[in-house]
Structure formats: C-alpha cells, structure tokens
C-alpha cells in the first residue's frame, strides 16, 4: 500500500486522485501503525520548512520514517516541501531537516545575476533536463515539463544524486535521487500527463 503522509500540509487529495486514475490505491495517513505497513511512502508538502519539520516532529513520525527509509529501504518520494525536508537544512528555517540527502535548501532571492532577476516564487511550468537515467523518469512524454511553485530550491553536495535539473534564470536541481529515496521539487499531481507517467513509474518500483 502506498501511504501519503498527512502532516497537515499539502494537497493530498490530488495525489491520491492521480494514483487512483492510474490504477493504484493509496492511503492518506499520519498514523504510525499505517505508515509502518507502507510498501511505498509519499511525502508531500506546501509551506515553510520549519512548519513542516515541526509538524513531522510533533506527530512523532521522524524516527519511524528514518527506520522505514534508511533501514528498510522503503521507496519514498518527496514532493516540493516534502523533498526539501529530506535535505539537511534550509535557508528558510532554523530546524534540521531529515538529512537523507547531503544537500541544503537555498533561496532564489539574492541569487539572480544582476539584470536577470525573475519573480519569486517561481510559479509555472518548466522543462526538466535529465542528468542521469532512472526508472522514475522512464517513458516520460517528449519534452517533459512539470509544474513548479517554490521560493527555495535544493542544492546537493553530491553530483551523483542529481536526477533532473531545470532553469529559472540559472540552472538548478529539480529532482534528487539516492537508492530508494526520491525528491522532486515540482508537483507531479499537477502536471497532468507528465505527472501521470512519473507517479506510475514510482508506483511500479
């Protein structure tokens, strides 16, 4: 059973809906009993880094998630804030992240070259460039694009973890991958046919 972690943030219904449409059942939950039984985990999220980490901590989910992901190697997909929480820390907040990726989360503001500033948050469709092959991104329709909405982006210290990159005035990481752990900055559940394929690939791992 695919479990979508409900920690109070994010559009969980859309993810469940899209999974259902491609033929996969899923459960939205924050209960340790259910998360423990998950064959795959999706960590969604919209909002600020500290709010996200606090909520995960308050729900007592962090130790369980560490066990499932690091020990049991359960495939996990982080979406948007969910992906950022998988990093070590964020310029947006004070708290430590889950630290599954050797990466930091940085702000767009102040990083644009002079004369090349773009509006923040980055809201819209961007193309993705494939940095390494992986089952998650297999069979994507031609010229894949996804919907992004974020003011902060992931920056990895390990080049081999970079799965996809996109360009918003400059090139930045739009997806990370390491073993069973995936983090995508964009929203597959809002990227119609491209999202369908990506979620299908994840569900079939």
């Amino acid at each position: 059973m695919i479990v979508i972690i409900d920690y109070g943030l994010g559009n969980l219904g859309s993810i469940k809906n899209m999974l259902r449409k491609i033929g996969y059942n899923s459960e939205i939950s924050s209960e340790t009993k259910i998360v423990d039984q998950a064959s795959k985990i999706i960590l969604p999220g919209v909002g600020s880094f500290d709010t996200g980490m606090s909520k995960l901590n308050d729900l007592g989910l962090v130790p369980l998630l560490n066990k499932k992901v690091n020990d049991e190697k359960t495939p996990v997909l982080g979406i948007c804030l969910g992906a950022q929480l998988m990093c070590q820390s964020s310029e947006e907040g004070e708290l430590n992240g889950l630290g599954w990726f050797d990466a930091k989360v940085l702000a767009f503001k102040g990083r644009f070259d002079s004369g090349k500033e773009l509006p923040v948050p980055n809201m819209g469709w961007l193309d993705v460039a494939v940095k390494k092959e992986n089952v998650l991104i297999g069979n994507l329709p031609l010229n894949p694009r996804f919907y992004f909405v974020h003011s902060y982006f992931m920056a990895s210290n390990q080049t081999e973890d970079i799965l996809l990159s996109s360009n918003y005035s400059f090139d930045y990481t739009s997806a990370l991958h390491k073993e069973n752990i995936y983090g995508v900055q964009f929203h597959p559940e809002k990227s119609h046919k491209y999202g369908f394929q990506l979620l299908k690939n994840f569900a079939e791992i």
């Binding site: 859309s14 948050p121 809201m123 819209g124 469709w125 559940e189 809002k190 119609h192």
Partner: protein, 260 residues
C-alpha cells in the same frame, strides 16, 4: 521558460458564466464538464471565480469545488467572497491549490497577512479589478464584483500586497473585460514595474499573440483570459477552446523582441 496561459472561469449558482465589463453574463454551462475538457486539452492552470459570493456573503459550494478539483490534474485556484482562514482551509482541503482574495483583501488587509502567514505565500493570490478614471489618469481599484469603487490606486495597492507577502497578483481591467480587444498594456506595465512577485495579466486578452506579448515584451509572468477560451466566432457561440502545446511553443519561439 514558458509563461502560463490561464483561463479564468466565472461561477454563479453552480453554473459557468461569462460577461462583458462584468455585466450581462451569458450562461456557459456545467463547470465539471468544462474542467474535464480543459484538463484533456492540457491547460497550464485554471482559475475559478464565484461572482455572486462576495455580494451574497455565502460559503462556497464545497461539493461542487470538490467535484471540479477531482477532474483537474493541473493547478487550480478559486476565489469569490473568501473572507476567513477557515474558508481557505476548507477550500484547500477539497483539492484546490490556491485561493484568490479580492474584496476582503481590501476590506481587511490584516486578513491577507494572516492568510499568508498560515498558508504560505504561494497559496495566496490577490486579484485586483481596475477601472480607469474618467480623465484616464488614474487606475482605481474596485471591489464587490466591480460594483464598489474604493479610494485605492492599483499601483499603490499592488506594492502593499507585495509587502504583505502575497504570492501572486492578478491584474484585471474592467474596461477591457469581455471585449476581446487586447490587454490594457499601460496598466499591466505600471504594476509589473513596481513589484517583484508574479503578475498575471487579465482583461481583454484576445489572441495567442496577446498572451505571448504581454509576457515576453511587457514582462507579465502569466496571461489570463475568459472570453477567448469560451466563445467562438462573431456570434460568441459558447465553445471551449485552448491552443495546442505546439501552437503555443511556436508562438513563443517566433516572438521577436521589439525595441521599447
């Protein structure tokens, strides 16, 4: 980067409508089927605005919003009489990504700040309905579906909204609404020049060229339209259309930068 092209659909008593200058609304049909068609056409994003809600101070029809959201696999924004954090929470819970504030943002700016704090910038969009003053010097902000004039100027209000942390601004020209005569470029430029957050141009958008130009040349982040996507031909026959990805790519690629 491809700028978004966004249909704005108007809801009234659970039906879709489209008007001119915010009046004489024509019935367009069932919103659920319309969303399904737009979804199949791979539209970039959709905005639904309830045009009665502000006046009637009703709660949104969450059931129909849930049905609409369940047919949508791209971003969806909803607005219309949104006046409390509880309402925003419910709207997000039924599967909608963003909430559009308008009248209540003006009536109670503190509400905007609270909403941004609680739900995050990227969830809160504010829509500004604008009418040119009689002598054409000022752009005045109107609320309550364009019925009530405020003493706010569009430019000043946009700057305030950015300060409050709003994620996006929709700038809608009442003068151009439904006329399919092109955007009020002057208005859009004035706003784009003073804020660094995304600005969505609305009101009068009449062609793919309009959509591309207002973004690439006049620096709006996205273009929006209503009449263009629901009316066809000289008799304004109701028919849902949206350019194909190929047509959009071609128009963006072939755009030649004009000298200012």
């Amino acid at each position: 980067m491809r700028h978004r092209i966004i249909p704005i659909l108007l809801l009234k008593n659970n039906g879709l409508y489209k008007g001119i200058h915010f009046k004489d609304h024509k019935y367009v049909g069932d919103p659920i089927n319309a969303v399904k068609i737009f979804n199949d056409k791979e539209v970039d994003e959709l905005v639904f605005l309830d045009i009665n809600a502000s006046c009637e101070q009703k709660e949104p029809n969450y059931n129909i919003l849930r049905d609409i959201a369940s047919e949508c696999f791209m971003p969806l924004a909803y607005g219309g009489g949104v006046s409390s954090l509880e309402m925003i929470k419910e709207i997000l819970r039924v599967g909608i990504e963003k909430v559009v504030l308008n009248t209540h943002a003006v009536r109670n700016p503190l509400f905007v700040q609270e909403a941004v704090k609680y739900f995050g910038s990227s969830t809160i969009v504010v829509s500004i309905d604008v009418k040119k003053s009689f002598w054409g010097n000022n752009y005045n902000v109107y609320i309550n579906s364009g019925k009530e004039k405020t003493n706010l100027q569009a430019v000043e209000w946009a700057i305030e909204l950015e300060k409050m942390g709003v994620g996006e601004i929709i700038v809608n020209s009442i003068d151009k609404d439904g006329t399919l005569s092109g955007y009020d470029i002057n208005l859009i430029r004035r706003i784009v020049d003073v804020v660094k957050i995304p600005v969505i141009a609305a009101g009068g958008g009449s062609s793919l060229t309009d959509f591309v130009k207002i973004c690439k040349h006049h620096k709006a982040s996205a273009s929006a339209a209503g009449a263009y996507f629901v009316f066809q031909g000289k008799h304004n026959a109701v028919l849902i259309t949206y350019p194909t990805q190929v047509e959009i790519e071609k128009e963006f690629d072939s755009f030649v930068e004009l000298i200012n």
